[in-house]
Point group: none
Chain length 140, copies 4
Amino acid sequence: MSDITQVQADAVLAAARDAARGTETAMNIAVVDAGGNLKAFTRMDGAWLGSIDISIKKARTARYFDMPTGAIGELSQPGGPLYNIEVSNGGLITFPGGLPLRGEDGTVIGAIGVSGSTVENDHTVASAGAAVELQGAARP
Amino acid sequence: MSDITQVQADAVLAAARDAARGTETAMNIAVVDAGGNLKAFTRMDGAWLGSIDISIKKARTARYFDMPTGAIGELSQPGGPLYNIEVSNGGLITFPGGLPLRGEDGTVIGAIGVSGSTVENDHTVASAGAAVELQGAARP
Amino acid sequence: MSDITQVQADAVLAAARDAARGTETAMNIAVVDAGGNLKAFTRMDGAWLGSIDISIKKARTARYFDMPTGAIGELSQPGGPLYNIEVSNGGLITFPGGLPLRGEDGTVIGAIGVSGSTVENDHTVASAGAAVELQGAARP
Amino acid sequence: MSDITQVQADAVLAAARDAARGTETAMNIAVVDAGGNLKAFTRMDGAWLGSIDISIKKARTARYFDMPTGAIGELSQPGGPLYNIEVSNGGLITFPGGLPLRGEDGTVIGAIGVSGSTVENDHTVASAGAAVELQGAARP
C-alpha cells in the first residue's frame, strides 16, 4: 500500500498556501495520510481559529470515504440518503474543502482539508493542493 | 433473557459478507448483542475507513430502538417528531443499513449494522445477515 | 506499505480464540490495521463488557507505538518517563495484552489487543494471535 | 499582544526537524500559538502514530502554563501538589518534550511539542526548535 510522505505533504501544503495567497484568503490547511492520521498542518496568519478543527475534519472525511467532502454533503441533507452522517466518526465535515490525494496509480494515499473562507475558496485552495503530482512511496 | 452467541454472530457476519461479495461491495459489518455492546466486527479489504464507526452506530441504533435504522430516519427529519435524535447516545445513524436480530421466539437478541456502499446496498447486505435463523441462547 | 488483510485478521482472531479456549477464559479480541483503524473484533460468550473498549484500545496502543502495551506501562508509572501517557489519544491502555502484528519483512502491518482475564492470560492469548505468520499484502 | 507567525512557526519546525535528523529519530512536531491553538505540524516518515496527539498536547501544555512540560510532570506525581493534573483540559502531557516559545522581549508567543523517541531525544529536538530567535509580531 502507498502512503503519503512528508516531502509530498509539504509540497501539497505549499501549493495550497500559494493558492490561498492568490485569492487573498487566510487558510487552515491540513493533510492526513492513508490511515486518516494527521501528517502536516499549517495555519496562515489571521486565519479563523474555528477552522483548525474543520480543516482537519475535512481532510479526514475525504479520506474516510475517498471522495470530495462536498459530494457527501449533497447526500447528507434532510431527506437525503446519508442524513446527519456528520455525527459519526467524532464529527465529519461534509461541505466543500476536503479532497482525496492520489498517487500516480490512482490509489488514495491521503487527503487535504482547507478551511478559512467561503466554501468556494476553500475548495479552490484544496484543489490546488490536490493537483500536485504525487508518487506513492512505500512507508519506511 | 436471550442474547446472541458468538457462533451466531459469526454466522451473521459470514452471511452478510457473502452478500457483499455478491454485490461486489467492500463493507464494514458490525454485530451488537442484546445490551447494544459490540459482539463481532469485520472490515473487508478496501472498505471505507469512515464506515467502521457508522456500521457500529447503525447496529447500536437498531438495537436501541428495536427497529430498522431507516425507520428512525424517517422520523428524525426537520419538522419530524424525532428531529435530530442523531445527536443522542454519542451519535446515532438513522439511514438504512441497521437491522435488529431476532431469536426464534421473535425477541430481539442483537442487531447488525452495515456500511460501505449506497444505503440500498448496505440494507441488502444487512438483510442477508438478519435472515440467518437464530436461536436465542440464555445469557451466561 | 503493507497492511493487514481481512483473511489475515481472521486467522489472528481464530488463533487467539483457540488459545483463550485453551486457558478457559472468555476474551474480547480486537485487530487494528496499519493505520490504527479497527479491522476485526470478536467477543466470546460471557466475556466482560468493559473489556470491549480495552481490547480495542490495547490494539491501537500497540500499533501507535509499535511495541507491546506492557512495555509502555513500565515507562508510564509514577516517576517514570512517560507518566500518565494514558490520557492521550482518547485513552491508551498500557498494561499487557496488546502486541504489534508484523509482516514477513518485519514491518508492522497492524496490532492485536486482548482483554478479559488476568493480564498474564490476556498477554498469552494476544501472543497466540501475534504468532500467526502474516505476509503483508498490498492494500487493494 | 505578540503572537507567533506562520513564517516563525515554519522556522521552528525546520530547526526541530533538522535536529531530529541529527539524532536519527522520526518525530511528530507541533507548534501552537499564544492562544494555545495549533499553528503548524509535521510528522516525519515512520514516526509513531500515537505521538501525533502527544506532540500537540505537549505544545499546548507548555503554553497553558508557560513552562517546560517536564517541570509540570515533577509536580503531578502521586503526593505532589498537582497530582493527576493530566486529566484536565482534555488531556495534558507532562513529561519532557514541550517548551514555550518566547519573542525577543521574553513574552511567550507560542509553544513547541515533540514526540517520537525517548523523552530525552524529544526534549533535545524541542530545544532546537525553541532556540530559533523569534521576533514577536503583532497579532492581526
